[in-house]
């Protein structure tokens, strides 16, 4: 059961867009993903690091990176703050103003998160968390959108900005190809002070705890990377608070994919419900229009009927009146005629 939240989210996303991706959809649970069992990691003990830059040199060599401007034995480089780049997958920075007597050195490289932000945001899955520990990159599918760089809370991936057509995203691979062959990562092998320990992450946490327990005055009681961003394969021990050596302590313990899981889980709901809602609104509008139309029609019909009826009555009344008028006129005429006749007769008699 090494199903991660990622796969579940993948399923959700896939369901959301209605695609038929045939990948096992793992059941989600309230179980906390603690990394793949027996996966590898590296424990970095800052109390042992002397800032010799041997790890940088080894990294440069095993990854066939371009030669640096200043040689690796030039330690003045440590005086400027540096970050990882396309020509250096790991860099060591020096921190002087700490509570510690003397400077503290801190090596930076990809932390190989248990649930990496970079891999969760990669829309072509060029970045992947392997079961053996390393987070690997496949340049043959990378589109170059640089969302991984936006997402990485540790600011690790670097981009070949000066490659016009084939830019890659580059970062530490934990020497995945060397691990496969049974070799140690380049930096671990090169470290003369055993500040770097390679092994199974679970074992490394035990080792780190043991050191803290044994020398409580030497270490801060915190293994950086045990829980940060859901846990990382690279673990750190420090003599000073981590923020004094430029490591963020405000990242929280939430694994990156859960930051976006809520938004992704809404997608299928919108796809499922929006058409229903919108069709409903359309239906209501149509119905209103239809009813309004019908009401208008009945009103018109009623009005016409009423008008017809009234006109009929009026006509009848008018006709009646006309008839009556005619009758009275006739009667009058007759009466007048009779009167005339009656009036004429006595005249005759008189004359």
């Amino acid at each position: 059961m090494s199903i991660s939240r990622r796969k579940f989210l993948a399923w959700l996303g896939a369901a959301g867009i209605g695609s038929m991706v045939s990948r096992d959809a793992g059941a989600s649970s309230n179980k906390h993903f603690r990394g793949y069992p027996k996966s590898s990691g590296v424990l970095y003990d800052m109390t042992r690091c002397v800032g010799c830059r041997e790890c940088e040199a080894a990294c440069n060599k095993v990854n066939s990176l371009p030669a640096p401007d200043k040689p690796f034995n030039d330690l003045t480089v440590l005086n400027t703050k540096r970050r990882t780049g396309t020509d250096a997958y790991t860099v060591v920075n020096k921190y002087s103003g700490t509570r510690h007597d003397g400077p503290v050195f801190r090596k930076i490289q990809c932390n190989h998160c248990l649930e990496p932000a970079c891999a969760s945001v990669c829309f072509v899955r060029a970045l992947k968390k392997t079961k053996s520990g390393p987070v690997t990159y496949d340049e043959s599918v990378c589109v170059g959108c640089r969302y991984c760089m936006v997402a990485c809370p540790f600011d690790i991936p670097a981009y070949e900005y000066n490659e016009p057509l084939t830019p890659r995203v580059l970062k530490c691979t934990m020497c995945a190809p060397r691990i496969e062959k049974g070799q140690l990562p380049g930096c671990v092998e090169a470290c003369p002070k055993e500040a770097l320990t390679f092994g199974h992450r679970d074992d490394l946490i035990k080792i780190a705890r043991k050191r803290i327990r044994k020398y409580p005055e030497r270490y801060k009681d915190h293994i950086y990377g045990e829980h940060e961003m859901g846990g990382t394969s690279w673990l750190y021990l420090s003599p000073v608070p981590f923020k004094e050596v430029g490591m963020r302590e405000d990242l929280g313990e939430t694994p990156a994919p859960s930051l976006t899981s809520g938004a992704l889980s809404i997608v299928p709901m919108v796809v499922g419900l929006w058409p229903v809602l919108l069709a409903g609104v359309y239906g209501i509008t149509k119905r209103k229009e239809k009813i309004a139309m019908e009401e208008q029609q009945t009103a018109v019909a009623e009005a016409t009927e009423k008008a017809d009826h009234e006109a009929h009555l009026k006509l009848e009344a008018a006709m009646g009146k006309a008839k009556k008028d005619k009758e009275t006129a006739i009667e009058k005429a007759i009466k007048k005629a009779l009167e005339d006749v009656a009036g004429a007769e006595p005249d005759k008699e008189d004359s």
């Binding site: 959301g16 867009i17 072509v124 899955r125 959108c145 640089r146 809370p153 016009p164 890659r168 509008t285």
Partner: protein, 390 residues
């Protein structure tokens, strides 16, 4: 046809054409440099600042301001506001052009743009919000193309095809609203992954909701703004329906925009309350946040309301411009200004002039294409053969 050509050649050298020509030429030169020397030669992007204004402006603002297409077609075809019908075509056209040039801008920004279909062919990185954005934008661009196609089809005289497409209106409108809801919100959700980089006043679990609601505001305001601009420029191209519907539309959309702005202001305040970030309001970033909230959300909300009450069309049109500026400000705040806020100033991103020139290039192309299409196709007037046939 020959008449058209002669009139064209007579008035070819206009101030508009000259300026647009220069911008396009500069844009093309920068494009060539981008594809020969790489992004590093033309942009100020760095490993700490992988996204600049080509994402912050071209993509985020482009998509938000192209929201007029779905807001307008939804109000007319779904919510039954038929008296605004004449506004749908211009809105769909700007929507389509907006999205189309978002994709063109992405071609410059992406490392290997020809791999743009990879997410849907080999990658299937469905845990990525960018996957959702990409898929929805691709589908919605297609939907917008079909939705707008009756105009070119009428122009070309393809009656049968045109009538089939018109029958699909309802389906396409619903599909358009679904896809817009998804990708407008997902553009905000892109930044959910980086709570450690985006300033807490702008970072919120509600980012997708903020982006979606503000896209409605952007859509409504853009329809008003475009209407008033094209009224000035393309007055002679408009038929009586269009001219008579413009004022009620400005009033109606102004009213809607005022209401949605009020809702948006409320949920933004809820966002601050939910994160309990009140104390941050007195910091410099807090003041900047207040500028956005009061000057570009609360103020336009109020001005729209006053404009509608007084039937002051001029005020409403001015407010629409202010609101559009507010949307641009918000998108730039989230993606550039308040992003990586904790880095020292020397490590912050400030766009190069060439990045700005390319953004101007994209806006110019949209205007040129808009002008080309509305002077030829039945967008601002009804085709005489198809009067009242919608």
């Amino acid at each position: 046809m020959s008449e058209e050509i002669t009139t064209d050649s007579q008035s070819w050298i206009t101030p508009f054409n000259v300026i647009a020509g220069i911008i396009i030429l500069v844009g093309l030169i920068i494009t060539v440099i981008r594809f020969t020397k790489g992004l590093g030669a033309v942009t100020h992007l760095s490993n700490d600042n992988p996204w600049g204004i080509w994402i912050g402006f071209d993509l985020l603002c482009g998509v938000a301001l192209a929201a007029g297409g779905y807001t307008c077609s939804a109000s007319v075809y779904l919510f039954g506001m038929k008296r605004y019908h004449s506004a749908v075509r211009p809105a769909l056209l700007t929507g389509f052009l907006g999205y189309f040039f978002v994709v063109i801008a992405l071609i410059l920004d992406l490392g290997r743009p020809w791999r743009l279909p990879y997410p849907f062919i080999i990658g299937w990185g469905t845990t990525s919000l960018l996957f959702e954005v990409g898929l929805c934008v691709a589908l919605y661009l297609t939907v917008l193309f079909i939705e707008f196609s009756p105009a070119p089809l009428e122009w070309l005289g393809f009656k049968k095809t045109r009538n089939i497409v018109v029958k699909l209106t309802l389906l396409l409108t619903i599909l358009g609203v679904v896809l817009s809801t998804l990708h407008q919100s997902s553009l905000g959700a892109l930044f959910l992954i980086a709570p450690s980089k985006l300033h807490p006043l702008w970072y919120s679990p509600y980012l997708p909701v903020f982006f979606f609601i503000s896209s409605i505001i952007a859509g409504l305001s853009m329809v008003i703004l475009e209407g008033s601009l094209s009224h000035k420029v393309f007055h002679h191209k408009m038929d009586e329906t269009h001219l008579s519907e413009c004022d009620p539309l400005t009033l109606g959309f102004g009213k809607a925009a005022s209401l949605v702005l009020a809702g948006y202001f409320t949920i933004k305040v809820i966002g601050i309350a939910a994160g309990n970030h009140w104390d941050l309001l007195s910091t410099p970033y807090g003041l900047w946040f207040l500028v956005e909230m009061l000057g570009f959300v609360a103020l336009p909300c109020f001005l729209y309301a006053v404009g509608v009450r007084d039937k002051n069309l001029k005020l409403i049109r001015g407010t629409s411009a202010l609101t559009v500026c507010g949307i641009i400000l918000n998108r730039l705040n989230v993606s550039v200004i308040a992003f990586n806020w904790q880095l020292p100033m020397s490590e912050r991103y400030i766009p190069s002039w060439m990045e700005i020139a390319v953004s101007v290039f994209m806006v110019t192309l949209i205007i040129v294409f808009y002008k080309f299409i509305v002077t030829r196709m039945p967008v601002l007037y009804e085709h005489p053969d198809f009067k009242n046939s919608h």
